[in-house]
């Protein structure tokens, strides 16, 4: 006998959608609101900036002017900003465990469900 799922009422459907919405928005917005997200570049502005001091040649200086930044001081932060790629191994290992663990969990639970699907689909007694 094939598995007969229960009929879900309207309230249950609404509840399920709200659960997913809260999970989605929560997971993606929380890091933003808590200030954990993003790799902000840190500017290291130099004193009395000139195009030469900022490492820009004459052609590059013309390019800056063409996009509306004619004053080297206005480009100081953009040119001197750098990412910081130093990292600890522990967060990297945690991330790797999370990614690998997630896929292992999903594949194993999926396989359990998949066996039910195949059994019902291909076993004539259960159709």
């Amino acid at each position: 006998m094939a598995y007969q799922p229960p009929k879900q009422g309207l309230a249950g459907q609404v509840f399920d959608v709200i659960t997913l919405l809260v999970l989605t928005v929560g997971a993606l917005y929380l890091p933003l609101y808590l200030g954990f997200a993003g790799a902000a570049k840190t500017p290291n502005p130099i004193a009395n900036p000139t195009w030469e001091a900022l490492g820009q040649n004459a052609t590059e200086a013309k390019q800056w002017a063409a996009i509306g930044i004619a004053d080297p001081a206005a480009a100081n932060d953009i040119i001197t900003a750098r990412f910081d790629y130093s990292f600890n191994w522990l967060p990297l290992i945690v991330m790797a465990v999370l990614v690998v663990g997630y896929f292992v969990l999903v594949v194993r639970l999926s396989d359990r469900e998949y066996r039910e699907v195949i059994e019902e689909r291909f076993d004539p007694k259960r159709r």
């Binding site: 997971a27 933003l32 993003g38 390019q63 953009i78 990292f87 967060p91 990297l92 639970l109 998949y114």
Partner: protein, 465 residues
Amino acid sequence: MANVTATAPATERLQLLRVLGPAHIWALGVGIVLVGEYMGWNFSVGKGGMIAGLAACWVAGLLYTCVAMIDSEVTSTIAAAGGQYAQAKHIVGPLMAFNVGLFLVMAYTMLEAANAITVGYLLDTVAGMMGHTGLNQKPFIILSIMFLAWLNFRGVLATLTFNLVITAIAFLAIIALFVSVQLGASAVAMDFSAITTAPLPYGWIGIVAALHFGLWYYLGIEGTCQAAEEVRSPARSLPYGTMAGIMTLLIAATMTWYVCSGLLPWEYLGQAGTPLFDAARVTGNTGLMVLLFVGTMFSTLASANGCINDASRAWFSMGRDRYLPSWFGAVHPVYRTPYRSIVFLVPIALIFALGAPLDQVVTFSILSGLLGYTFMTFNMVMFRRKWPLETIKRGYVHPLHPLPTIVLLTLCAAAYFAVFLGYGTQLSAMMCFYIVASLWFHFRRYRFVRRGDQFTMPWPKPQGY
């Protein structure tokens, strides 16, 4: 493949229309992705420098070539709405399918939000150039998303024909800029001296870090298979449209890097909102500026348009299978579109378009895409093991298996590390979200799912079961 839905329960229900050809598939794939040339890719230059940006462009191109090869084989065999979602359902299992459905919805909805943000930013920039500073971007963001959702609501043929036209114009705009600059149309000379003066400002780790945003050049090409149930000849159209799309994008990406790196200082390029438009501004040529403004607008609209199409198909498919409330599985009685899914996803796109920074939204989209590419690797291996080549008829068989799978998995691992360099918190938060959602599905939602209905292909029993 036409009997995919015919083997489902014998209920009277409306079907999606089979009206699309290879050109529409090309337009859907390239249309979603071409915006990656107009914005976002350049953050890879910011993360690693000019050389790292080019390396990321080509390495990501290799990754997506593997994606296109693998996807073409599986999709041309499992031609059902939802694309990779339907693949996961038939090959790995329901929970994996639920997760893949979420990857697709998240990747495309975030990409749609990023497109809308870019429309607002571009209009603000142009208004500033015209002397009207401080333009309120929000009405344009809302208008873009609402208009495209309406277009999708009205019908898939009109939607993708619209995409075909504006994608072609946006692609031609890149070529026109490239050719014009080569013919001396720029008032300012191209300059690649940074390649020698600052070849790798972050060292070799910068090349790996740049791969993060290098994915943006091509992200979404796998969306071609979302329309599998609406294609007249899936076995021919899907591989042809997808592979033509990836070739188009490889050419466009390389030209884009060349023109932008030559016309813009790499420090500016690495954080620019609309790099191709900025490159046109540097030329001082009004015609090119107008053309690249139009190209940027068209590419963002085409991308958002395709994203709405794809995200709604994935959401619709999950609703139809009761992975989500079945209310979402409805087809419009007149327009034959998944209208409830289209409407439902509009406010989600708006929440992120109006409330999150562009690089964060782009990262969310990239992460969901990356999880989907990782799934493709073991999905391909399981597909060949459960149904070896001689057991079922495939529309297309990709060569050199398992080499593309191994290359894809290796590049995915590198891309996770690239995202970790600076955006590890988002990655961890997203993994926690998917783990909790998976447990929710397995222990609560799955009881509403009809087991046997999850396998609709007319195939023999998989080996090993």
